[in-house]
């Protein structure tokens, strides 16, 4: 980690750059801070490299004559000290350039057309429910200037990469007794599953009429970036029909009838795949493809084997590949090793892992294979309950954390209690872990934790705690050993003989966070 660095020619002014990524590119963002010996003077969040270098230049120019070459060398040296391989000429061009090059890049693009990818799917052996999405971009010419060419490639990959949605669209159609057809469109949220990497979607249709509705058709649009592990319709033996569309997989369910007040509920259990964006340059034409790659368990880790084949009848002059890992994964190693300039593992803060490859001159039929060994990114499950009484006043806050432990099989379970007002009764937190998991240690060791097995094959653990004083926190830390993932479920809470009677509000989210876990 590079600390603030003196502005050359000054002894009392410093600049610090904190990029959010280890990949040098014109789209890298980060924070630039300006200090004197008394401390921080100013700082600015920068959205791209142009803003970063211009901000350094602006800070520099507030105290010294700004010589562009000196500023560019300073920035290059700073990046080198951060372990980022940068390019002096690009930095200097960005410092000097008032105009962004966007307009010039736009001018290079003549036309973008969607292409039929059936041939690609056949050669790439794309699985039945997946698809390859492709566009062909014709250009006036491929620029000789490496900087403009790399900007063009970056823009086309960003513009055409598959966007992971946070909702699944659903179209519903049914008939009323008078023959009238009704249509309803909804967006269903993508929710957390039982364990890490699991995603669930529920698609529901409730009959709000006083009569039966018939000829019901529910069509859910599942994005190709998800693989479906399981899909069921509750209480009915119906198999859906799947249709591959341009950007999504359509899943159509036909239900003969729903009685008044009843509901049809379809549940999908899914996992996210690796989103691969492939950009091929052949003469003045550029092809951009999106493929979706499965991650499979392999022992205690995961593996993704991904193949690229040049299916064109010509040599691909330049190939760029961007593999975006699902956010819950980190890459342990890749084969071949991702070493610059051919490959780089980009780890952007709070954004996830992207593995990028580039190669020149790939002959017709040539195959390039990449294998990734993956493990879960350090995760934290935070289940929080705000407990209210019958009048809606907060009694206490309770939380359960599941924290992965590096280099060990198992995880840490942490329970926290904090009373907002005085509580006298004993508080119990009841939770479940997989039956094969065992408690190895607990802290404090004398706290009472009961264990039993329930009829669903889960191990139930109950922490029986004396209530902490008002506004004080009470913690129980349990280390669990188990070679399967933990359960991402909330717990039940009891105060004396009172139990939970209603969930007033529930929210869930998955996101990268900077946090401190010094229990």
């Amino acid at each position: 980690m590079v600390e603030r660095k003196t502005i050359w020619g000054s002894t009392r002014y410093f600049i610090r750059i904190e990029p959010n990524t280890n990949l040098f590119s014109t789209s890298m963002d980060g924070l630039v801070s300006f200090y004197d010996t008394g401390g921080l003077i100013s700082h600015r969040e920068c959205n791209n490299l142009h803003e970063i270098v211009r901000t350094v230049q602006e800070f520099w120019s507030t105290i010294l004559p700004p010589h562009e070459t000196r500023v560019a060398r300073w920035v290059e040296e700073y990046f080198t000290e951060l372990g980022i391989q940068s390019d002096y000429n690009i930095i200097l061009r960005l410092i000097k350039s008032e105009e962004l090059l966007e307009q010039r890049i736009e001018d290079l693009i003549l036309e973008t057309t969607i292409i039929n990818t059936a041939h690609f799917e056949e050669v790439f052996e794309t699985e039945e429910k997946s698809k390859i999405i492709g566009v062909e971009v014709s250009t006036t010419h491929i620029p000789d200037d490496i900087y403009i060419q790399s900007e063009l490639v970056q823009k086309l990959m960003e513009d055409n990469k598959y966007q992971v949605p946070n909702e699944v669209k659903s179209r519903k159609q049914f008939k009323l007794a008078n023959g009238e057809t009704k249509n309803i469109d909804t967006n269903n949220s993508i929710d957390i599953g039982d364990s890490i990497g699991d995603i669930t979607v529920s698609s529901r249709l409730k009959n709000e009429y006083n009569e039966a509705i018939t000829d019901i058709k529910i069509v859910d649009e599942i994005p190709y970036c998800f693989s479906i592990d399981d899909m069921t319709i509750e209480g009915r033996d119906i198999k859906p029909v799947t249709k591959k569309k341009e950007k999504i997989l359509e899943i159509e369910w036909k239900i003969p009838e729903i009685a008044p007040g009843n509901e049809a509920e379809i549940k999908y259990k899914m996992k996210q795949k690796i989103n691969r964006t492939i950009l091929e340059i052949i003469e003045n034409k550029i092809t951009v493809l999106n493929t979706f790659e499965e991650i499979v368990p392999s022992g205690l880790e995961f593996v993704a084997d991904i193949k690229y084949i040049n299916v064109h009848k010509k040599r691909v002059e330049e190939l760029h590949i961007m593999d975006e890992l699902p956010p819950e994964f980190d890459v342990l190693k890749s084969n071949p090793e991702a070493m610059p300039p051919r490959g780089i593992i980009e780890k952007a803060r709070l954004k996830g892992v992207i593995i990028r490859w580039q190669q020149k001159n790939i002959n017709q039929g040539q195959i390039l294979e990449k294998t990734y060994s993956l493990d879960y990114f350090p995760y934290l499950f935070r289940g929080k309950k705000i407990v209210k009484d019958a009048e809606g006043n907060i009694i206490l806050k309770a939380a359960k954390f599941i924290q992965s432990i590096d280099n060990e099989i198992g995880y840490r379970l942490v329970y926290v209690l904090k009373c907002v007002r005085d509580v006298e009764d004993i508080i119990s937190i009841e939770d479940a872990i997989p039956i094969s998991h065992v408690i190895t240690t607990k802290d404090p060791p004398d706290d009472q934790v009961m264990e039993q097995t329930n009829d669903k094959g889960k191990r139930i653990i109950t922490w029986i705690a004396n209530p902490p004083a008002k506004e004080q926190e009470k913690l129980l830390i349990i280390k669990i050993s188990g070679d399967t993932p933990p359960l991402f479920e909330t717990f039940k809470i009891y105060i004396g003989d009172k139990k939970e009677t209603e969930i007033i509000k529930k929210e869930s989210s998955i996101a990268r966070e900077m946090t401190n876990l010094s229990w």
């Binding site: 008394g38 100013s42 004559p65 990114f377 929080k384 705000i386 998955i510």
Partner: protein, 201 residues
């Protein structure tokens, strides 16, 4: 050509561009010309051009551009060690309540250099608790600081480790300011979060 004549030519051309093209184009022209002047160590000449731009922008009621010009004038006076003139523009900026990223940077540099002070009073400090919520903690209402970095030092030295949201009141500008300060080691996690409000009976 004398320095005075060069400056007059720049101002004349800048006026022409502002009138016939746009203020943006005028600023671009002035940026490039003052950069050339400063490379030749002609700081006073650069200041004259920036002062002209500041006055023109004031007449046109273009506050953002005026603020930017003031930041240039203040930092350049500081560079040639003319603290008195820098103060004159610093005071003018305060009086006119000019505010921008560049001007605020310049004002802070001036305050540090001239040992001037902008009193800030902490209104509220909130600390992130174990649940991930920010909870108000007790802080003396009489605590006053000259700079944001003094507040940072107070938080680093006087409070236990943590992540804080600090709300302060700037007594000179009569505005409140927010700052988030972390004094603990933070690690990146993929956080899967479920929050429930439950009723218990």
């Amino acid at each position: 050509m004398s320095s005075g004549a060069i400056v007059q030519d720049i101002i004349k051309e800048a006026k022409n561009i502002i009138v016939n093209q746009s203020v943006d184009e005028g600023l671009k022209y002035i940026e490039s010309k003052t950069l050339d002047l400063e490379k030749k160590e002609k700081y006073l000449e650069s200041i004259i051009v920036w002062q002209f731009f500041a006055e023109t922008m004031e007449k046109l009621e273009e506050e953002d551009f005026q603020s930017y010009a003031f930041s240039k004038v203040i930092t350049r006076y500081l560079y040639i060690e003319n603290i008195e003139k820098a103060k004159e523009f610093y005071d003018k900026a305060l009086k006119q309540k000019l505010d921008s990223f560049h001007l605020n940077t310049a004002k802070t540099i001036f305050e540090r250099r001239s040992k001037g002070s902008t009193k800030r009073e902490i209104i509220q400090i909130r600390k992130r608790d174990i649940f991930g919520d920010f909870v108000t903690i007790l802080a003396s209402p009489n605590l006053q600081f000259n700079t944001v970095s003094e507040i940072r030092k107070y938080i680093e030295n006087q409070l236990p480790e943590g992540t804080f949201q600090v709300e302060m009141f700037n007594l000179k500008t009569n505005t409140s300011e927010d700052s988030e300060i972390s004094t603990e080691k933070l690690d990146e996690y993929e956080v899967i979060s479920i929050t429930e409000e439950v009723r218990i009976e």
